[in-house]
């Protein structure tokens, strides 16, 4: 789950990291009031789950409340990498002397939290990594001991020559690690970490991705989920315990297992069609999940045909079959349904499908080919 900058800053602030004040506005008038409250120059920043906000024109300096209003009105409703901006953060502008980068993420290769810091901040760190890798200092944290004070200091010393700044940065790096582990994040980043002419170090931008698997430990974080940032169908799928990703094609897919679901989408493409979605009904075999899946798929007006690909293992084929029959009773499904079903309780499943007038095959290629053909004819 991705957080907005203002949410990430609140978590950082709670961990003791110096972050400038800021308030969120949903209208130009709100932005104007906030700017007036701060006085002086403010920054108006689009709050959207995407990088490259500055380049897209989503971050603007405003020297007066009127200007803040005008910028907010221009930014709100703007599309950045396909996402609509619904909120802006208004925050006093800071005097910047230097800009650094500090980030920590769970690295697949070292299987541990890994810090990357660079004195070249304020830019895309992947770009720095590609063009000037020596400018980045890396540290793998042993998750059993946590980040040790001397390690934080070693990282900070690559950012600043001035010992006063390095000392502040070391503290911030430790606080960042605490915020990272305490909130169950998989990534936490300050970019840029600035130093001011007055000799202060603070975080003026923040990015956090929380590990969905750990949300149960800090349930309050669930409230930070921005439902307006995800399509309604994905919210519904998550609540029903399904994994769903909307795509642009016309073959609706309902599959058990993530790998098989991806392979099914690929096979649709192989036969010349376009998948309308990724949908994994998961390992459990609750017929209600199948009903929810069909409701989500049929809500997409692009879907011309619905393709089931079920390989029973933990998932019982007869439960899926009952879900299909139940769903067609409860909701009006217009697109034709083609079914591939094999594995656990295949026989019972095929019987109850046949009773309800469905036919099913046990070949994945066969069913995908016929789904693509049907979609092309309709």
């Amino acid at each position: 789950m991705n957080l907005h900058e203002y949410q990430a800053k609140a978590l950082f602030g709670a961990a003791g990291i110096p972050v400038p004040p800021g308030e969120v506005a949903k209208t130009g008038a709100e932005a104007e009031t906030i700017a007036r409250g701060y006085g002086g120059t403010v920054v108006v920043k689009a709050q959207v789950h995407s990088g490259g906000r500055g380049k897209a024109g989503g971050v603007k300096l405003a020297s007066s409340p009127d200007e803040a209003r005008a910028h907010a009105e221009a930014i709100l409703g703007m599309e950045i990498r396909g996402l609509t901006v619904e909120k802006v953060l208004v925050t006093p502008a800071e005097d910047i002397d230097t800009e650094a980068y500090v980030g920590v993420l769970v690295d697949r290769k070292t299987q541990a939290p890994t810090f990357m810091v660079s004195a070249e901040g304020g830019v895309d760190i992947e770009e720095v990594a590609a063009t000037n890798p020596e400018a980045i200092r890396r540290l793998t944290v042993d998750p059993r001991y946590g980040l040790l004070p001397h390690q934080a200091y070693w990282l900070a010393n690559s950012l600043y020559d001035d010992p006063k700044l390095a000392k502040q940065a070391a503290k911030i790096i430790r606080q960042l690690y605490d915020a990272f582990t305490g909130n169950g994040a998989s990534m936490a980043e300050i970019n840029p970490l600035i130093s001011t002419p007055g000799g202060e170090v603070k975080a003026i931008d923040a990015k956090v991705t929380l590990d969905d698997n750990q949300l149960f430990r800090v349930p309050a974080l669930e409230d930070l989920r921005d439902l307006s940032a995800e399509p309604a169908a994905e919210t519904k799928a998550r609540e029903a315990g399904l994994s769903f990703v909307k795509l642009d094609g016309d073959v609706g897919c309902c599959v058990n297992g993530a790998g098989l679901a991806m392979a099914t989408m690929d096979l649709v493409k192989y036969y010349g069609g376009e998948p309308a979605n990724f949908l994994d009904i998961g390992g459990s075999s609750n017929p209600e999940k199948v009903v929810a899946a069909l409701e989500i798929i049929t809500a997409d007006p692009n879907v011309k045909v619905i393709l089931f690909n079920i390989f029973g293992g933990i998932t019982r084929g007869d439960d899926v079959a009952r879900g299909i029959v139940e769903a067609t009773r409860r909701i009006d499904i217009k697109p034709p349904i083609v079914i591939r079903l094999t594995g656990t309780n295949e026989k019972e499943a095929l019987e109850s499908l046949a009773e309800a007038g469905f036919s099913a095959t046990n070949s994945m290629d066969e069913v995908v080919e016929s789904a693509v053909k049907l979609a092309a004819e309709l």
């Binding site: 769970v106 697949r108 290769k109 299987q111 541990a112 939290p113 992947e126 042993d142 998750p143 059993r144 582990t181 169950g184 998989s186 590990d211 969905d212 698997n213 750990q214 149960f216 430990r217 994994s243 990703v245 795509l247 599959v255 058990n256 297992g257 993530a258 790998g259 098989l260 679901a261 991806m262 392979a263 989408m265 690929d266 096979l267 649709v268 493409k269 192989y270 998948p275 990724f278 994994d280 390992g283 390989f311 029973g312 293992g313 933990i314 998932t315 094999t342 594995g343 656990t344 994945m364 290629d365």
Partner: protein, 295 residues
């Protein structure tokens, strides 16, 4: 022969009295796996009944279970909040292999668990994996027994049902397997492609290997380089997620294209460059294996 599990496997089931644990324990016993113990805290002293009235003793702790029964392998069906500790307990108990089926374990929990297990020289398979089956000798996990048959092909996969798809097609074509290993769909997994390739490479009965990867991370690329350098038997590869959009998690926590890294295209290219025959769709795996086996 087989890798990681075989006739010498003595299995302890962690979470044996739970819904998934009890269901799959019966299936593992039915397949002939030597299930010697179960662990559920608070239920020590009870007995778990197998499908034919077999009695499996239940213990409160892994330590007792291993000392009393000589178990050398554990399988974890414990809910996500407690699963990492169950893996740590297993790694501390003296078993050599821990197979973690549980899906949804927090990633920072697994970072600690993997470091702990590595230090003790204990192999972890998974988490979020379907387990492992050596046809004819041992099944540890949830891979359906009816789809496998003994034979010369080793199968390694990050996915569950997609593995079944590939395996059943091999079986229907009369091509059996030495061992089928599901390594799991999480970003942090204990046993990776390279570990399995190395083990299959040392198994005299494995004459060809099927490797099923998916988008996300760079494990497949490293595996491809390892195949070229160190694997003598032919390898056939498939990658799921050719049509997956970047930046979106496709079900598995590990299946996400970040930036330009981890795409199916990149992985298929790495396969081709390192002498791995690439199947465009699951149905092509059989033909490629047949020609690899000189059929």
């Amino acid at each position: 022969m087989a890798i990681f599990v075989d006739g010498s496997t003595r299995l302890v089931v962690q979470g044996i009295t739970g819904r998934d644990g009890s269901f799959h324990t019966r299936q593992m016993i039915e397949y002939g796996t030597a299930v010697v113990a179960g662990v559920t805290p608070g239920k020590g002293g009870q007995a778990f009944e197998g499908p034919d009235g077999e009695s499996v003793p239940v213990f409160n702790t892994m330590d007792t279970a291993v000392r009393e029964t000589g178990a050398n392998t554990s399988v974890v069906y414990v809910p996500p909040a407690f699963a990492a500790d169950a893996i740590l307990e297993a790694a501390d108990s003296g078993v050599e292999l821990v197979v973690a089926i549980t899906e949804g374990i927090p990633v920072l929990d697994m970072a600690r668990a993997h470091a702990f297990a590595r230090d003790r020289g204990v192999r972890v398979l998974g988490p979020n994996c379907p387990g492992i089956i050596s046809p004819g000798t041992a099944k540890v996990g949830i891979i359906p027994a009816q789809i496998v048959t003994p034979g010369p092909v080793g199968v390694i996969s990050r996915s569950g049902t997609l593995t079944y798809e590939a395996v059943i097609q091999l079986t229907h074509a009369g091509i059996g397997q030495t061992t089928c290993v599901g390594i799991g769909g999480d970003p942090l997994i204990g046993t990776n492609f390279v570990d399995c390739l190395a083990a299959f490479g040392e198994d005299p009965d494995t004459e060809a290997i099927v490797m099923i990867g998916e988008i996300g991370g760079t494990d497949e690329q490293e595996a491809a380089a390892f195949v070229k350098a160190s694997v003598d038997v032919p390898v056939v590869g498939f990658i799921a997620g050719q049509t997956a959009p970047p930046g979106r998690r496709m079900g598995h926590a590990g299946a996400i294209i970040s930036g330009s890294a981890g795409t199916a295209e990149e992985k298929m290219k790495a396969f081709e460059e390192n002498g791995i025959a690439v199947a465009q769709r699951p149905a092509d795996i059989v033909g490629l294996i047949q020609s690899a086996l000189g059929g």
